[in-house]
């Protein structure tokens, strides 16, 4: 027979209790009593029903603002183990809510807290959506309006895409597994740009598949960014928290996944005008520049107009000068002519002198020796001439 120490027994009991899957993840309903708060902020209380009670502790780190009161009916989640120091069985509570809230709601809170702590909702992990997706995977039911609505929205907004429907039931037994399979099938295709996980509105129970942990993990594992569009605007599911983007409805998910081609058309038009106005303003600035250079070129080149004017002035001056010279010369000529005139024999003839020429020889006779009696002579007087004959003569010299 072997003898154990007390510590060995309590330690053995602890290991035994903590290896039990049910006790590890336990939901318990009961009434709160013997509530007390330690100085460290932990809550100690007892959960009891008509026949039994269970010692409980809620550590401060799990309290998260929880306020308990003796006598209230609650549902608590946690793990059963043994407090070795005292050898007492204890329920280590990590979540407690008034009973009226409902079990699904509590499970939701619990899973949400767990996944949040694990980092599945980390905002830094949310991926941006591709602005121009080519292939959009849709995880939803092949029957019903949801896929039809999504296809309509995308056909209206951006019909350049291929929609790939990965069909799955979205409620009831097998829905979580189906959703996980659909997500994996799309993930295996590798060229999907974005995935929409969608379901129409329904009760909390009908939407429940989207609050399952395996669905959350499959969304998290998707290579392509995931948009969730589950239920109505007011419904929040775990899938919404883990998705890269939450859309309030399936149609809204389709809108978020695609650009609007009418907006694109107007942007393209705008770009067209940008191109036109940019090129025309550049062309006109170039042509202004050419004009400016032409002006400068003209400013720098010799001034033909001024030169022409100068030539004009000079030639006019020259002409004037020439005219002056001519006038002087003319005066000169006139005085010479007057002088000449004064020397001409005509005046002498007018005074009564005559010029006698030898008719035959034509010479002017100024001496007697030039003629003999009988020679014909020509006598010129002031108003004409007459002929005559030498009759007799006597020279001074004989």
């Amino acid at each position: 027979m072997q003898i154990y120490t007390v510590s060995q027994v309590t330690s053995y009991l602890r290991e035994l209790l903590e290896s039990d899957l049910l006790l590890l993840d336990l939901w318990v309903s009961g009434e709160v009593s013997n509530l007390m708060q330690s100085s460290a902020g932990h809550l100690y209380f007892t959960l009891k029903d008509a026949d039994s009670q269970l010692r409980c502790v809620l550590f401060r780190r799990d309290r998260d603002g929880t306020v308990l009161e003796n006598g209230t009916a609650v549902i608590a989640h946690g793990q059963v183990s043994i407090y070795e120091t005292r050898g007492e069985l204890q329920f280590y509570v990590d979540l407690v809510q008034p009973e009226g809230v409902g079990l699904l709601h509590l499970q939701f809170q619990h899973l949400k807290a767990e996944l949040e702590e694990e980092g599945l909702f980390d905002p830094a992990r949310k991926r941006p959506l591709p602005p121009f997706p080519e292939r959009i995977g849709v995880v939803t039911s092949p029957t019903g309006a949801v896929f039809h609505d999504i296809a309509n929205v995308i056909n209206r907004r951006y019909p350049l895409v291929e929609l790939i429907l990965a069909p799955t039931p979205v409620q009831g037994n097998g829905a979580p597994e189906g959703i996980v399979r659909a997500l994996r099938a799309l993930n295996d295709m590798e060229d999907i740009d974005v995935v929409i996980v969608a379901r129409g509105g329904g009760s909390l129970e009908e939407l429940w598949a989207f609050n399952e942990e395996k669905v959350a993990r499959a969304i998290y594992a998707s290579c392509a960014p995931v948009i969730s569009g589950v239920g109505h605007e007011t419904d929040f599911t775990i899938a919404d928290y883990v998705a890269d983007l939450r859309a309030p409805t399936p149609s809204a998910a389709a809108e978020l996944a695609t650009p609007d081609c009418w907006e694109l058309r107007s942007r393209i038009d705008l770009y067209k005008w940008d191109l036109l106005s940019s090129i025309s303003s550049q062309l006109s600035s170039w042509s202004d520049e050419v004009g400016r250079r032409q002006d400068r070129l003209e400013a720098l080149s010799p001034d033909l107009k001024a030169s022409r004017q100068r030539v004009d002035e000079l030639s006019r001056g020259a002409w004037k000068c020439l005219e002056g010279l001519i006038a002087v010369r003319r005066q000169c000529v006139e005085s010479l002519a007057a002088q000449l005139n004064s020397l001409s024999p005509a005046n002498t003839l007018a005074r009564g002198y005559a010029v006698v020429k030898h008719t035959a020889r034509g010479e002017v006779i100024s001496r007697t020796g030039q003629v003999r009696v009988g020679d014909n002579i020509e006598v010129r007087v002031t108003d004409g001439a007459f002929r005559g004959e030498v009759v007799e003569g006597e020279g001074e010299n004989g």
Binding site: P131, F132, E134, P142, A151, I154, N155, Y158, P159, L160, V161, E162, L163, I164, L165, A166, P167, T168, E177, G178, V180, R181, A182, R184, A185, L186, C261, L264, R265, I268, Y271, K272, D274, L275, S278, I279, Q282, L283, W286
Partner: protein, 68 residues
């Protein structure tokens, strides 16, 4: 001249680039006119893409139960 655009996105991105390049300025007259003409060609391609688009729908068949 750039190579053919295979998708709307490619043509649209190139159009954005062309507009930006032209608006930045600093190009020669020949370059500016070439960028402008390229941009106008892309405008045409983008509009043709949008006009010709037709939504395609494929449904994955029989997602097997394995691996679930």
């Amino acid at each position: 001249m750039a190579e053919k655009e295979h998708t709307f996105e490619e043509a649209y991105r190139k159009l954005e680039e062309a507009v930006q390049k032209l608006e930045q300025g600093g190009l020669t007259l020949e370059q500016a006119i070439a960028v402008y003409e390229e941009g106008m060609r892309l405008v045409k391609i983008c509009n043709e893409c949008l006009n010709a688009a037709e939504l395609k729908i494929t449904q994955l068949q029989s997602l097997s139960e394995e691996g679930a």
